[in-house]
């Protein structure tokens, strides 16, 4: 035996030590050379002739002065076909290149900015949808942002001049900050400048400033433009100098209310009785001498309207009388109706007559 199992080389003691002046036993010599051969064959040769048959403990570590290409898998300082197992921390002085996959089961701490380059997906991939980057500080968008995580309440802070696109998929609520300048918050009051809204649905407009509407020919009413309103109901409107049917009200002065004429007629009561002009009058009934009924095209709202009748004289008397709601034949009152008013023309103390000019107007 040459080694004692603990790495100590032991000389075969048979015939040892040799004594001066004596014959050295061939047996002892041969045993010695055999031990030496066994010992040297068991040792590691520095030129690499020997392949170790067991793990070699290096109590003081391994130093190598070999300088090779670190990216070359056949010329590195340590080459192994079975991988390298490291019981404690691995400290790489410069850079480490992983040929296939780097798996980290513990916490990976980056004390400097990690750079992801030439990625297949151009971005880190989180196979667990509920995991992602979590940072206690503020990261810029090109650094992944702060708290960019799915399905968790998080705060995204974006600063600097970064072109950022926020793409939201799924039914999540994103609350934007109440920014005063550049962001529109859904629930807060914001001022939008030079925005084009395409087909917006506006339930109501509350405006304290200037609201400029587009020049529309059909569906919009401009404040200063001329528009035709169809089937509009105006409740208690205040009309300033309205232009209604040939400016009938354009010259009105004072604040007394106006009650327009509801019906009128100018007719000739002599000869062939004929209507010269009328408004809201469908016909005139000639009941007899100086007795007429004005029939309204559209009925009055009630019978409490006022009838004003004037007529020309009979050519001989100045005592012309006109009456309303009276039967000139019987002298009895004729109750007014909403659709007609009966009038009479006559001469005081003489009787009825047919005037050439009879004017009737109705107000309500």
């Amino acid at each position: 035996m040459s080694y004692n199992g603990s790495g100590t080389f032991q000389i075969n003691t048979t015939g040892q030590p040799v004594v001066a002046g004596t014959v050295i036993s061939s047996t002892a010599f041969n045993a010695l050379t055999a031990d030496l051969a066994t010992g040297l064959s068991t040792a590691i040769t520095k030129d690499g002739q020997t392949a170790t048959t067991a793990r070699i403990p290096f109590a003081a570590g391994i130093n190598s002065t070999l300088v090779t290409d670190s990216t070359n898998s056949t010329t590195g300082s340590i080459l192994t076909a079975g991988g390298v197992g490291i019981a404690k921390a691995l400290n790489v002085g410069t850079s480490a290149t992983i040929g296939t996959t780097l798996g980290v089961t513990g916490v990976a701490t980056f004390s400097a900015q990690p750079i992801f380059s030439t990625l297949t997906a151009s971005k880190p991939v989180f196979t667990d949808a509920s995991k992602g980057f979590v940072s206690t500080g503020t990261l810029a968008p090109d650094q992944g942002g702060t708290g960019v995580a799915n399905n968790v309440a998080s705060t995204l802070t974006i600063s600097g001049n970064f072109a950022t696109t926020l793409t939201v998929a799924g039914a999540y609520n994103y609350t934007l900050p109440a920014a005063s300048g550049t962001l529109a918050n859904l629930a807060s009051a914001q001022t939008l400048t030079n925005k084009t809204l395409t087909a917006p649905v506006i339930s109501s407009i509350v405006n304290t400033g200037t609201l400029t509407l587009p020049t529309s020919t059909d569906t919009l009413v401009g404040k200063a433009t001329t528009d035709t309103l169809t089937n509009k109901t105006l409740t208690s409107p205040t009309l300033t100098t309205p232009n209604i049917d040939s400016a009938q009200f354009a010259t009105v002065s004072g604040t007394a209310p106006i009650y327009p004429c509801r019906a009128w007629v100018n007719f000739n009561g002599t000869g062939t009785v004929a209507i010269r002009g009328s408004g809201n009058v469908s016909s005139l009934t000639d009941n007899g001498v100086g007795d007429y009924t004005v029939n309204f095209t559209t009925a009055m709202s009630d019978i409490n309207y006022s009838v004003n009748t004037t007529c020309s004289s009979n050519g001989t008397s100045n005592f012309i009388t006109t009456t309303v709601f009276t039967n000139s034949t019987t002298g009895a009152n004729v109750a007014p109706t909403t659709s007609a008013a009966r009038i009479n023309t006559g001469v005081y103390a003489v009787g009825t007559f047919d005037p050439t000019y009879v004017n009737v107007s109705v107000f309500r």
């Binding site: 209507i275 009328s278 469908s282 016909s283 009934t285 007899g288 001498v289 047919d354």
Partner: protein
């Protein structure tokens, strides 16, 4: 309109309805609206109405 509507009034005389040309109604529509309900009426030419009204209250309606 050169037509008139005549019907007997309640006093034994005759009422003559003169249509208003500006009302936009036809003579038939005016008759239906302005002749009292239940009264028989007749649409006549204006030339058929006497122009001398001296005895206007004595005019009578004949069918």
């Amino acid at each position: 309109m050169n037509q008139r509507i005549i019907y007997p009034n309640n006093d034994g005389g005759v009422a003559i309805v003169i249509p208003a040309a500006e009302c936009g109604l036809t003579i038939e529509e005016i008759a239906a609206k302005d002749v009292p309900a239940g009264k028989l009426y007749k649409i006549v030419d204006v030339a058929d109405i006497p122009t001398d009204r001296t005895f206007r209250n004595a005019w009578e309606y004949t069918t």
